[in-house]
C-alpha cells in the first residue's frame, strides 16, 4: 500500500471504493497543495496518533471529513455554493437550502472543514495562514487564523465557484470583516449577506428569553435566507426550514446518545474522536445528516460494547475536565491527547455536554425564531455570566474536576472572556479553573515542550481536586 491507499484505508474506504475514488483524491489534494510527503506524514503520524482507528465507524467518520475536504476545490462549475460562517450551534438554516434544492447546492463551512482536515490530518494549516498575512491580514493585527484560512482559500483558488455567504454575526467581528475582505478582493465571486445579532444583553438576562433579541435575530435570519435563496435561484419555502429543523433534531438525538455514553467510567472514547463525530451538529457540511447519523449509530454501537465490557481509553476513575480551546482546529489535536497522556479526560469545550436548557421546548413557533432561540441559548454564544452558569451545570451534572481555559490570543470573544467566566464560576463552584494564555495555532507561536510542562501542572491540579472530592465523598 502506498500512502494514498493507506489514507483511504484509514478513512474507511473498501478496496473497491478506494480504487474508484483515488483519482479524485489525488486531484483534490493537489488543489489543496498537499503533496505525497504530507500524505505520508499523515498516515504515519497524525491519523494513527490522534484518532482511534480500531473503531470502523470512526474510520468512516474520518472518511466523511476527507470527502468533504476533497470535494470543495473540485465542485462542478454549476454548483451553487452556500457558505455559512460561525454557526456554532444550529445548522438548520444551512440544511434548509439542501432541503429546497438538494442537487443544485453545496452547503458548508469552508474554513472549519479546511482546518479540521488540512490541519488535523495533514498538519498543513500554517501554509494558508501565511498566505493570508501577505494580503492584508497583518500579523500585527492579532487576527484569527481560522478566518485567515478562509481568506487564503479564496486567494489560492481553492474555492472554485461564486459563493453565497450567510454570515452569522453571532459572536465576533473578525469573521464578518474577513468576509468583507474577501468581497473587496473578489466582488464578482461572492454574494455576502450578514445576519446580525446584537450582543448587548445586560448581565442577568438570558438572551433566548428576551423577545426583542430573539425576534430581531429571527427576522435577520428570515430575511437573509430568502435573500440568498433569491440570489441563488432557489425556490425556498418555510417548510424547508421546518424539515431541516426536524432533520437536525434527529441528528442531535444521536449525538446526545453518544454523549451519554461518554459519562461512563472508564471513559469509552477519546476526546478527539468524540469531537470529530459530533461537530457536524454545529457546523455545516455538504453531506446531509442522514449519512452521518448512520455512522453515529454504528459508532454508538461500538462504544456501547466497550461500556458493557468495562473497557475504556483511560484508567477507571480518570478525572474529567472541560477543555475550552478557542477556534478548535485540527492543528491542535495534540492538546486533548496530551491531557489524556497525563490521565485526564478532556471534553473539547462544553460542547457535547447535553444540558436541560437545550431540551426545553422553544418559546417561539415561527421556524426562524426557533433557530434564533437555539443560537441564543447555546453555551458558546452566551454572555460570560451565563457561560459560567452553564459550565457550572456541566460540572455538577458530569462530575467534572476542572475547567481548563485556553485564552486564545487572537480571539476577541472567547479569548477575552476567560477571567470574567472564571470570576463568575468561582462564585458557584470550587472546581479548579486554569487559564492558559497563548496562541497554539501557528508553529511560530508556541513551543510544545514548554506547553507540556504547563499541561502537566494543570493535570496535577485537576487530579488533586478529584482525589479530594473522592475522599470527601
Amino acid at each position: 500500500l502506498d500512502q494514498y491507499d493507506q489514507l483511504l484505508e484509514f478513512c474507511g474506504f473498501t478496496k473497491e471504493e478506494a480504487r474508484d475514488y483515488m483519482p479524485t483524491l489525488k486531484e483534490g489534494l493537489k488543489k489543496w497543495m498537499i503533496g505525497p510527503d504530507k500524505v505520508k506524514e499523515s498516515v504515519e503520524v497524525y491519523l494513527p496518533t490522534y484518532f482511534d482507528l480500531s473503531l470502523p465507524p470512526m474510520r468512516k467518520m474520518l472518511g466523511v471529513w476527507l470527502e468533504e475536504f476533497i470535494k470543495i476545490p473540485l465542485l462542478p462549475k454549476d454548483r451553487i455554493m452556500i457558505d455559512t460562517i460561525l454557526p456554532q450551534t444550529d445548522c438548520s438554516m444551512l440544511y434548509s437550502f439542501k432541503a429546497a434544492a438538494p442537487d443544485k447546492v453545496w452547503v458548508g463551512f469552508l474554513d472549519w472543514i479546511a482546518v479540521l482536515v488540512n490541519g488535523g490530518f495533514f498538519h498543513n494549516a500554517n501554509a494558508l495562514v501565511d498566505v493570508a498575512e501577505k494580503y492584508g491580514m497583518d500579523v500585527n493585527g492579532a487576527l484569527c487564523p481560522l478566518n485567515k484560512t478562509r481568506y487564503a482559500m479564496y486567494i489560492k483558488g481553492i474555492v472554485p465557484n461564486k459563493t453565497h455567504t450567510l454570515m452569522m454575526n453571532i459572536i465576533c467581528d473578525d469573521s464578518p470583516l474577513t468576509e468583507e475582505m474577501i468581497h473587496q478582493m473578489y466582488p464578482d465571486r461572492t454574494y455576502l449577506r450578514h445576519i446580525m445579532r446584537v450582543k448587548d444583553a445586560p448581565k442577568g438576562v438570558w438572551e433566548d428569553e428576551d423577545d426583542l433579541l430573539v425576534e430581531h435575530l429571527g427576522n435577520e435570519i428570515r430575511s437573509a435566507v430568502y435573500d440568498i435563496a433569491e440570489k441563488a435561484g432557489i425556490d425556498y419555502k418555510p417548510q424547508h426550514m421546518m424539515a431541516a429543523i426536524e432533520n437536525y433534531r434527529m441528528y442531535a438525538e444521536k449525538v446526545m446518545a453518544l454523549a451519554m455514553l461518554m459519562r461512563n467510567d472508564p471513559v469509552p472514547l477519546r476526546g478527539i474522536d468524540f469531537y470529530y463525530s459530533i461537530v457536524p451538529m454545529a457546523m455545516g457540511m455538504d453531506i446531509d445528516y442522514p449519512k452521518t447519523r448512520g455512522i453515529l449509530e454504528e459508532l454508538h454501537k461500538c462504544v456501547k460494547e466497550r461500556v458493557d465490557k468495562g473497557v475504556g481509553v483511560l484508567p477507571k476513575g480518570a478525572p474529567r475536565v472541560i477543555w475550552q480551546t478557542t477556534a478548535p482546529h485540527g492543528e491542535n489535536n495534540w492538546e486533548i491527547k496530551m491531557f489524556e497522556d497525563y490521565g485526564v479526560a478532556a471534553y473539547w469545550f462544553d460542547f457535547g455536554i447535553p444540558l436541560p436548557k437545550y431540551f426545553m421546548p422553544p418559546r417561539k413557533s415561527d421556524p426562524f425564531d426557533i433557530v434564533a432561540e437555539m443560537f441564543l441559548k447555546y453555551s458558546l454564544n452566551v454572555e460570560p455570566w451565563a457561560r459560567a452558569e452553564l459550565i457550572n451545570q456541566c460540572v455538577e451534572q458530569e462530575g467534572l474536576s476542572g475547567v481548563l481555559w485556553h485564552q486564545f490570543w487572537y480571539c476577541r470573544h472567547w479569548g477575552t472572556e476567560g477571567q470574567m467566566v472564571k470570576q463568575e464560576l468561582e462564585k458557584k463552584s470550587k472546581v479548579p479553573f486554569v487559564v492558559f494564555d497563548g496562541c497554539w495555532w501557528h508553529a511560530r507561536d508556541y513551543g510544545p515542550e514548554k506547553l507540556r510542562t504547563i499541561f502537566e501542572t494543570a493535570s496535577v491540579m485537576v487530579k488533586d481536586y478529584a482525589n479530594k472530592k473522592t475522599k470527601a465523598a
Partner: protein, 415 residues
C-alpha cells in the same frame, strides 16, 4: 512606486535615520504655543468641579462608553449629564487592565476601563451610570468590564452593524426607547419633545461650528493646525453644549483673523484610522513638528462627527435614531463596507492631500483590515500612505516614529 513602497513600512521595520533631534522635547511641548491647548486643559480641569457640583445638587452623570452612537441630546433632555469616555494616550492604564482581560483587545477600549479602574481619570469616578454602547466586540467587552468589575449600573445600547436595514433601525429605536425609559426612571425627569428639540438644536450648532472651523484648513493658507482642531473637537466632550458652542465661536473668530500657521508648501496630510483619544496627541504633534499640515481627519469614535445634522422637524426620537445610526460615517466594524473608502477618496480629493497617515491602535482589527484597502485605493490616486501603530507607546519610541514620519514627509516633498 517608490513612494508607495514607503507605505507599508512601520516603525521598527527599517533602520533608524537621522533627523530626530529634540523629538522627546517636541512631544512634551504638544502644541503648547496654541491658545487651544489652554482651552482644552481648562475644560478638562473645570469639568471635574462642574460634575461634582451638579451631583451635589442631585444631578446624575452618565458615562458614555462607545464611539459616538449614543445621542447625548437624549441624556441631557432627561436631566442628566453625558460624559464620553474619551481619554487616552497613556500606556499605564492600558497595561493595568491585564488583570481583568486579555491584552488582545483594542487599546482605546482598554484605556477607558484602565482610566476608570486605576482612578487615573477622576472625571470617570463621577459616573452614576454608564451606557454600554456596543458597536463591536471590543466595545461589548468594555461594557462587560464595567458590568463585571464595578458596581455601576450599565444601560445597554446595542447598535446593529447592518445599519441600512429596516430591522437594524427597528432594533436601534427600541433600544433608544428603553434607554429613554431607564434615564427617566433614574432622574425622575420625563423626556419631552421640546427638551429634545432644544438639545438637538444646540448639537446641530456645535456640528456646524466644527465644520466651519475644520474648513479653514481647506485652502492654501492654513489658519489652524490639525492638532488644534482635534483638541477643539475633544473640548466639546468636556463642556455643556452651549458653553462649548461659545468657545467654538470665539475660537473661530480668532482663527479667521490669524496669520497662516503652516508654510504654503507644507505637505498636506490626511490623518485616518483608529479613534484618537483626548490626550493622545503625540502623532499629530510629530507630523506638524516635521513640517506636515494635517488638513483633515477621520478617526472613528475619537472625534465628534459633524458632517450629519439631526432633523428638527418631526418626531425627535426618530430623527435622533436616523442621524446617529445612519447619518454619520460608520466605523469599519459596520458591514457591509460601503461608505468609508469612497468617503476617504472624496476627502483626499477635496482637501488636495499629498499623503495619508493611518493611525493604527493595536488590536483594533477592523481598522487593520481596512487599512489594506485604503492603501490600495490611495495608491490608485498616487497618494503615499504610511501606517503608524501605537499602543499609547509612541512617546516611548518617539525616535523611531518620528523618523518614519520625517522620512515620509521628505519623500512627499521630493515628489
Amino acid at each position: 512606486v517608490a513612494l508607495f513602497s514607503v507605505g507599508r513600512l512601520k516603525f521598527g521595520a527599517s533602520p533608524k535615520s537621522v533627523g530626530t533631534v529634540g523629538c522627546l522635547q517636541t512631544v512634551a511641548k504638544m502644541g503648547s504655543d496654541s491658545f487651544v491647548n489652554d482651552l482644552l486643559r481648562q475644560s478638562i480641569e473645570s469639568r471635574l468641579t462642574f460634575l461634582r457640583q451638579q451631583r451635589s445638587k442631585g444631578k446624575k452623570v452618565v458615562g458614555l462608553s462607545g464611539v459616538g452612537y449614543t445621542p447625548e441630546e437624549l441624556i441631557l433632555a432627561a436631566g442628566a449629564i453625558p460624559q464620553r469616555l474619551i481619554r487616552g494616550g497613556d500606556f499605564e492604564p492600558v497595561e493595568a487592565t491585564s488583570q481583568y482581560i486579555s491584552r488582545f483587545l483594542s487599546t482605546f477600549t482598554r484605556a477607558q476601563f484602565g482610566n476608570y479602574s486605576t482612578k487615573k481619570e477622576p472625571i470617570y469616578q463621577e459616573f452614576d451610570a454608564i451606557v454600554g454602547e456596543v458597536t463591536s466586540v471590543n466595545m461589548g467587552r468594555q461594557m462587560d468590564l464595567f458590568e463585571y468589575y464595578t458596581n455601576l449600573p450599565v444601560l445597554p445600547l446595542g447598535v446593529p452593524l447592518n445599519a441600512a436595514t429596516e430591522g437594524a433601525m427597528k432594533f436601534y429605536k427600541a433600544r433608544l426607547e428603553q434607554l429613554r425609559g431607564s434615564l427617566e426612571k433614574m432622574t425622575g425627569t420625563k423626556v419631552t419633545d421640546e427638551a429634545l428639540k432644544k438639545q438637538v438644536a444646540a448639537y446641530n450648532r456645535m456640528r456646524a461650528l466644527l465644520g466651519e472651523i475644520s474648513a479653514l484648513r481647506k485652502g492654501k493658507e492654513i489658519r489652524l493646525r490639525g492638532s488644534e482642531f482635534l483638541r477643539l473637537n475633544h473640548l466639546t466632550f468636556f463642556e455643556e453644549p452651549d458653553r462649548a458652542n461659545m468657545l467654538l465661536e470665539e475660537s473661530l473668530g480668532k482663527f479667521k483673523k490669524r496669520e497662516p500657521v503652516s508654510s504654503s508648501d507644507a505637505p498636506r496630510i490626511l490623518l485616518l484610522g483608529c479613534p484618537l483619544a483626548a490626550g493622545d496627541y503625540a502623532l499629530p504633534t510629530m507630523i506638524e513638528q516635521a513640517g506636515g499640515a494635517i488638513v483633515g481627519e477621520e478617526l472613528g469614535g475619537g472625534i465628534r462627527h459633524y458632517e450629519a445634522m439631526t432633523k428638527l422637524d418631526g418626531a425627535p426620537m426618530d430623527n435622533l435614531a436616523e442621524r446617529y445610526l445612519r447619518g454619520r460615517l460608520p466605523t469599519p466594524y459596520f458591514r457591509p463596507w460601503e461608505r468609508r473608502i469612497p468617503f476617504f477618496e472624496k476627502l483626499a480629493t477635496e482637501l488636495r492631500v499629498d499623503g495619508v497617515i493611518w493611525y493604527q491602535l493595536l488590536y483594533e482589527e477592523a481598522y487593520t483590515l481596512e487599512s489594506y484597502w485604503v492603501e490600495k485605493k490611495m495608491s490608485e490616486h498616487q497618494i503615499p500612505f504610511l501606517i503608524v501603530e501605537s499602543e499609547y507607546d509612541i512617546e516611548r519610541k518617539s525616535e523611531q516614529v518620528s523618523t518614519r514620519v520625517e522620512t515620509f514627509l521628505s519623500t512627499i516633498r521630493r515628489k
